[in-house]
Amino acid sequence: MALDRQLEILAVCGVGMGSSLMLKMTAEDALRSLGVDARVENTDVSTARGMAPDVVIGQGMHTGEIAGLAPVVITISDFLDKEGLEARLRERLAEQGWLS
């Protein structure tokens, strides 16, 4: 782990209650498998604009709106696809040098 602090990850959806919470749980599972120390939060797109996470995860409807919010933005279409998200996270975190 090349990052010397806990990774901040944000799962977003329209109102920040139902689907982003599911996404948060999927992301937590994926990060546990990757062995990454991360804190995952979930919120709505409005609130997300005022935050500065390392990684944003959401569906295309929302990630398009907040593309510049974080160094890593991951667009998903399946909220329960742990393996798919894990692969994407591994690739993108490695790109940033946060994962060796």
Partner: protein, 478 residues
């Protein structure tokens, strides 16, 4: 014996009657059962508790904004604003503990049902709707059988919501299978009846193959509408400004002076729109905070008790399949709702308040299911049906909750209206002494549905239309 009675009275008044404390304790228990670290347990329980406190503050701001909105709009149209002697704030203070217990006991019952009946298939996991459906159910029970003790309300409410959470994803299953052929998760959202009606009504309109919305290109300017905070503030403010132009100066002056005597009524109108949106944002923030702790705890528990069950999830989990259909449904439902607002107010019937969140999620979901059946025409039909249901539902349901929390009519989804009116229809039969019929009939109808579904599943035919029919009958029986 006096000591025991004193302890029970103390618990009833200070724990079961105080939602923040009760939710905090339930979360604490959930986190302890998951064997979380000490600091996570403490922080999680506190976050859940603060979330409930914030929820109450948000409801207060929201209902204040709603009153100004309705007063000015009614004055502009020359009608009387809808009356409210009771408020959601007061109802949550009085019955909040009951609601929290209905969610907990109802969820445990639901887990047990899913464990026993393989045909139940889905575990309902949309936390905020578990909260609101329990609230609507308790409000309806209090309306038809006032003066029940807390234990009766909790058990009757929990039995009813457990039956609803079990059957609702099942009646959406035939439509969901067309959207998500893998059947990895079900649909757990209180827009279900609008979606179901759309799914059947859209059939003659065409086919997805020829009219798929995802081949349309929508104007970029619509995109900011997807942020419900923005669209709520914008639409309510614009309606307020127009209303101020036509309303009685005295009425507007008195209302704006309450906020600040020096304030121009135009700026006041704008501020009311913004505060209304702000109140809803605070309310949602609070709900998000306690759900973030409770839902993973519920899920952790059920994963252990019933490993491998399919979850039933919130509506936006299917939105990536057809985002354009969602926007078409949302825009159509909002348009229809605003037309209804003008027509109803013009006729002097009722001054509606546009519920942007519901117009987005109900209109969007119905649009999506409409598209899967009949392409863009189906999506438009879904939006139109949602707009009509939300407008008519709001107007006719306000009075239903006049003795509990009329604002529940303003913040509602189609299934909430159905539950409210279903229980109201049972009123002549179900009085104070017979309130137990509510959970008993609901659970009996649910078991009958599950047995029928289980039989057709075992025959290996997995006949979808038959399954759909059985699912359809359940809400009428419940």
């Amino acid at each position: 014996m006096d000591v025991i009675r004193d302890i029970l009275t103390f618990l009833a008044d200070n724990v079961f009657g105080q939602v923040p404390i009760l939710i905090g304790l339930i979360t604490l228990l959930g986190l302890l059962l998951q064997r979380k670290r000490f600091e996570d347990v403490l922080a999680g329980a506190l976050r859940a508790t603060i979330g409930v406190v914030i929820l109450f503050i948000g409801v207060d701001v929201f209902t204040g904004g709603l009153t100004s909105f309705q007063t000015v709009l009614a004055s502009a149209m020359g009608t009387t604003p809808p009356k409210a002697d009771h408020s959601l704030t007061r109802f949550l203070t009085e019955q909040g503990g009951t609601i929290a217990l209905v969610i907990t006991v109802g969820f445990l019952a639901h887990v047990l049902i899913v464990r026993i009946f393989p045909a139940a298939r889905y575990l309902y996991l949309t936390g905020h709707l578990m909260f609101w459906v329990s609230t609507v159910t308790v409000a309806s029970l209090v309306t038809i059988a006032p003066g029940q003790d807390q234990l009766t309300l909790v058990l009757c409410g929990a039995g009813f919501v457990a039956a609803y959470w079990t059957v609702q994803p099942l009646w959406m299953r035939p439509l969901m299978r067309r959207v998500m052929p893998g059947d990895r998760f079900g649909f757990a959202h209180t827009s279900s009846l609008a979606c179901l009606v759309t799914g059947y009504a859209a059939r003659p309109l065409g086919s997805r193959g020829r009219h798929d919305t995802e081949r349309l290109r929508l104007p970029r300017q619509l995109s900011f509408f997807k942020d419900v905070n923005v669209s709520t503030a914008l639409i309510i403010s614009v309606i307020m400004l127009v209303a101020v132009a036509f309303a009685d100066d005295g009425v507007v002056g008195r209302a704006s002076a309450e906020m600040d005597p020096k304030l121009s009524s135009w700026v006041w109108a704008l501020l009311v729109g913004l505060r209304f949106a702000g109140g809803i944002a605070i309310l949602l923030f609070g709900v998000r905070m306690f759900l973030g702790e409770i839902v993973p705890a519920f899920k952790g528990f059920s994963d252990r008790v019933i490993p491998g069950t399919r979850p039933a999830l919130d509506a936006p989990t299917v939105f990536p399949v057809a985002p354009t259909a969602v926007m078409v449904g949302f825009v159509a439902s909002t348009g229809v709702f605003l037309v209804c607002l003008a027509v109803f107010a013009g006729a002097g019937w009722f001054t509606l308040a546009p519920p942007m969140i519901m117009l987005f999620f109900v209109g969007g979901a119905a649009g999506l299911f409409g598209n899967v059946v009949a392409g863009w025409r189906g999506a438009v039909l879904g939006g139109v049906i949602s707009g009509l249901v939300l407008a008519i539902g709001q107007a006719v349901t306000w009075g239903l909750y006049e003795r509990t929390a009329p604002e529940l009519a303003t913040l509602a989804d189609p299934d909430w209206y159905a539950i409210g009116w279903l229980l109201k229809a049972a009123d002549p039969v179900v009085g104070d002494g017979t309130i137990w019929l509510v959970p008993l009939v609901a659970l009996a109808a649910m078991v009958a549905t599950l047995v029928v579904l289980g039989r057709s599943g075992r025959r290996g035919t997995a006949d979808e239309p038959e399954a759909a029919d059985a699912g359809d009958k359940a809400p009428a029986g419940a």
